[in-house]
Amino acid sequence: MSDWKTICRVEDIPVLGARRVARPGSTDVAVFRNAEDKVFALLDRCPHKGGPLSQGIVFGESVACPLHNWTIGLADGCAKAPDQGCTQRFSVKVEGGVVHLDLEELNKSAAEAVRYEATQV
């Protein structure tokens, strides 16, 4: 059984928009809401040049990265061809209009993301 962390209400995310979940010490997570009120969560970092996906334009089940307009699938975190690369997905649970993220994933990947950044330098 996983522990779920309460993030916000679905209405707190704009339709066809996103909010940012701050994770001190590691990369933020972006939570998205599409026109059908489906909620998705991805690492807030485009696989291309690290742009914050939470700031992009959301359409269908995709988001366009605000830096160079790569299209990233919200469900799989992967760039649309011919671009290549994926960003990390996070499990989302919506219950009674409240958005939850998996606590373990949030914590675990925080450490991995730190390692990732360390190797980038």
Partner: protein, 810 residues
């Protein structure tokens, strides 16, 4: 559900492209069977010439290997010629007895070479130039024999001749017409081409009429005989006297043919609705196309109908031609011969090997023929397709679109001369080698495909001409897909203009209304059409349409400029570039308080604070207490001024005050793209007004107005619009021009491109000749801007969602 059956006869480029398009949109609709008469999978027929010339190998020109057919579950019958179709029982029959049932049949049988009906045409060593077998015959002949004769001095004939010569044969080209490539070149360019090919070692017999081919005792050709009795030795004769649509099968099974299999705009044969036809065998509105781009367009349309979407009509293409002989550049399009009702502009430098002819009718470019320097071919082709009036650019027309102002590719204009490591696209850092590799490996044919795959020319577009040249000699053939209009994006077939028109004519107020009315294919558009439509509804229906912040790019949604690390930059407005000690002190305090890492003076006489965290934006704005500079928006940016008559000993007008007045009148003005103004107080023009969207230059007797200048990717000097007496007039004329641009410009089109599209004369007519119209435009702009909020302070009114500045889940 049981799958439908699709059978394709012909395994060439147009047909297989149609299947590829079909698989993209309806992968599971059909069981597909393909019959190909040749024993090879689909290959790039255009590249047979480089293979013959020894520049590429056969393996390199295969587009779809046999494995591709397997992976897509396509039944492939190679080397089987289809000889009959039972249309009643819907069965295709091949020569060897193979049969296949169909629900839909696609005929893509291509074309056959035209064989001159002369004695000796069946001798050994007499071939056409059409497929891999012909090419191999020629390559083999070159190892054993010496004399080759090519009959036909058209595109194909010259390529064959060039290839055979490179393989060591002595080649004579026999051409019955008065000059080479008479369908693609005029007399002068044809002669230049002949000269340069002669310098390479080809021989020509121009105007010679072939009478017979003479054979030796073994039945192999040994000479070509002409009408005048002359004879030349020939061990190999290549007939390249044109092609004819291959309608043999179609005629046999009773389909209506007239210079091709007659098809409608949906690529359906007019005889049998179950049978489609694309490619060189199809006659659409009386034309059978022989170039790749139109055929691929046909394929795309055909695929949508096979997929039962029932959308898309093929309405014909305009075509242009280039020759694939390495080192020879020639290009032609449209009606380049001209006639008594035409005017010509000609530049001829026979010694330098450059010749250009432009044909103009009714003030429009209708044809172009270029030899030696073809970099502007695509620009001429664009002018030709758009049918734009050219009076205002006539004096520059001959010199092309690219000139010193173009940046980002080191001034290169001949792609062939570039090294593989040379950068072609300066925006996205793509070099020649990368582009050529992508074209070869991914089988790209069109500019759009190259842009998608490599990003080359996908940003500013100034290297488009170079990329097209690369496509030309890497993929071969023509590259210019020439749709008459350009769809806004993949979500729709509608163009920007059609969307603007519909919004105006039908009073559409919201993005969703536009989607519904115009049949958008996607549920809520994409990142390219949504911002455009949002701008269109707002600019067309001010005070009525509601802004949708989620359809704006991040910069306009957060009212700051996103930087590469995800922080933002803040540029407060400084009216006319003037500031005060008080403002500077507040800025300095903010820099300290929020630990802003970089402070930079911009080119627009303002101050840029870089590296501001998103959470701090609201407080930074508040503490600075200056209006938004809109430096992040497709809107009025800055009005740059010189010091003017107030201080300057040369100043004739108070340019700073004029600039401030303009900026106060126009700020908060959203537009299709960013808008920059400048005002100089005398002709020394210290404010650089010559490269602004609107440049105002004070002279002793008043103000000169210049429009549509540009200082960016394409440096373009602004054009003189008019001279005015008073400051009020400057406001009215500038405002009216900008409102015209706001109402008619396409999203992301700068004024330089807008005026380039509609023409300066049109703008003059609207702004100078029509006083009432001008005043109405100016009034409409004032109405739009009246009471517009400052987004840094009036969040509700400006529809700024302040939730974005704070994270959730803390």
């Amino acid at each position: 559900m049981k799958k439908l059956k699709l059978v394709m006869v012909g395994n060439g480029m147009a047909g297989v492209r149609t299947i590829e398009e079909l698989l993209k949109i309806a992968p599971d609709l059909y069981d597909i069977t393909v019959f190909g008469a040749e024993p090879h999978p689909n290959y790039n027929r255009i590249l047979l010439s480089p293979v013959l010339a020894g520049e590429q190998t056969l393996d390199e020109i295969v587009l779809n290997p046999v494995s591709w057919y397997e992976e897509n579950g396509i039944t492939l019958h190679l080397g089987k010629k289809v000889v009959g179709v039972d249309r009643a029982r819907r069965i295709v029959k091949a020569e060897d007895g193979t049969e296949a049932e169909y629900d839909r049949l696609l005929l893509a049988t291509g074309s056959n070479p035209f064989i001159l009906p002369i004695p000796g045409k069946d001798l050994k060593g007499v071939i056409a130039y059409r497929d891999i077998a012909d090419t191999n015959t020629m390559i083999e002949a070159a190892t054993q024999y010496q004399h080759a004769v090519v009959i036909g001095g058209g595109l194909l004939g010259l390529e064959a001749a060039n290839g055979l010569m490179l393989r060591g044969m002595q080649v004579t080209v026999v051409h019955i017409m008065p000059w080479l490539m008479e369908r693609q070149l005029d007399n002068a360019a044809g002669k230049l081409l002949q000269k340069s090919l002669e310098a390479r070692g080809l021989k020509f017999l121009i105007g010679a009429q072939t009478q017979a081919l003479v054979g030796d005792k073994d039945g192999r050709v040994m000479a070509v005989q002409f009408k005048d009795g002359a004879e030349i030795p020939a061990d190999l004769v290549v007939m390249a006297a044109g092609i004819r649509p291959n309608t043999e099968l179609a005629e046999k099974i009773g389909l209506h043919c007239n210079r091709g299999i007659v098809v409608s705009d949906t690529m359906q044969t007019i005889t049998d609705a179950r049978i489609y036809s694309v490619g060189e065998c199809a006659a659409h509105r009386g034309v059978a196309y022989g170039l790749v781009a139109p055929l691929f367009e046909q394929g795309k349309v055909c695929a949508t109908h096979l997929a039962q979407f029932g959308i898309g009509l093929y309405s014909g293409s305009q075509t242009s031609t280039k020759l694939k002989v390495t080192g020879i550049d020639l290009y032609s399009a449209g009606d380049f011969i001209g006639g008594p009702d035409c005017e010509e502009i000609v530049m001829s430098d026979p010694y330098g090997g450059v010749y250009k002819k432009l044909v103009i009718r009714d003030d429009k470019l209708v044809g172009a023929c270029l030899y030696g320097d073809t970099v502007d071919g695509s620009w001429y082709f664009k002018l030709l397709r758009e049918g734009r009036k050219i009076a205002d650019i006539r004096d520059k027309l001959m010199f092309g679109e690219s000139h010193l102002g173009d940046t980002g590719h080191e001034g290169h204009n001949k792609a062939a001369a570039m090294a593989a490591a040379d950068e072609v696209c300066g925006c996205n850092g793509v070099n020649k080698g990368t582009i050529c590799k992508a074209i070869k490996e991914k089988g790209l044919f069109t500019l759009e495909e190259v842009r998608k795959q490599t990003k080359a020319s996908a940003s500013c577009g100034s290297c488009t001409g170079l990329v097209e040249q690369l496509l030309m000699f890497t993929a071969g053939g023509d590259y210019s897909a020439a749709p008459k209009k350009k769809a806004m994006c993949g979500c729709t077939d509608a163009s920007h203009q059609e969307v603007r028109d519909a919004i105006r004519d039908e009073h559409l107020l919201a993005i969703g209304d536009v989607h519904k009315r115009m049949g958008w294919r996607t549920p809520n558009g994409c990142s390219s059409c949504r911002p455009a439509i949002n701008y269109y509804v707002l600019s067309t229906w001010p005070k009525e349409a509601k802004d949708d912040p989620q359809s704006r790019f991040i910069n306009e949604r957060s009212h700051a400029n996103i930087q590469k690390d995800g922080t933002y930059s803040v540029i407060p407005r400084m009216w006319g570039g003037e500031t005060t000690a008080d403002e500077l002190r507040r800025i300095a305090n903010v820099v300290d308080k929020y630990k802003i890492p970089t402070v930079k003076v911009t080119g627009g006489q303002r101050i840029d604070l870089l590296g501001v965290k998103k959470e701090d934006l609201v407080n930074v704005w508040k503490d600075i207490g200056m209006p938004s500079g809109h430096a992040y928006a497709k809107a009025l940016r800055t009005v740059k001024t010189c010091v003017g008559s107030e201080w300057c000993r040369f100043g004739t007008q108070d340019s700073t005050q004029m600039g401030k007045d303009l900026e106060r009148a126009l700020w908060r003005m959203y537009a299709p793209h960013k808008v920059k103004l400048a005002v100089s107080g005398c002709p020394r023009n210290c404010a650089e007004a010559g490269i602004k969207d609107v440049g105002v230059i004070g002279v002793d007797s008043g103000w000169e107005i210049y429009i549509a200048g540009n200082g960016g990717i394409k440096t373009e000097v602004a054009m003189f619009l008019c001279k005015l007496k008073t400051a009020e007039e400057v406001l009215e004329y500038s405002g009216a021009f900008l409102q015209l641009y706001r109402e008619e410009g396409w999203y992301l089109e700068r004024t330089v491109h807008y005026v380039g599209r509609v023409g300066l004369d049109y703008v003059k007519k609207k702004i100078l000749d029509d006083a009432q119209g001008r005043k109405a435009l100016w009034e409409r702009l004032k109405f739009s801007l009246e009471g517009e909020p400052d987004p840094w302070f009036e969040f509700d009114k400006a529809a700024v969602d302040t939730r974005q500045f704070q994270p959730v889940g803390a």
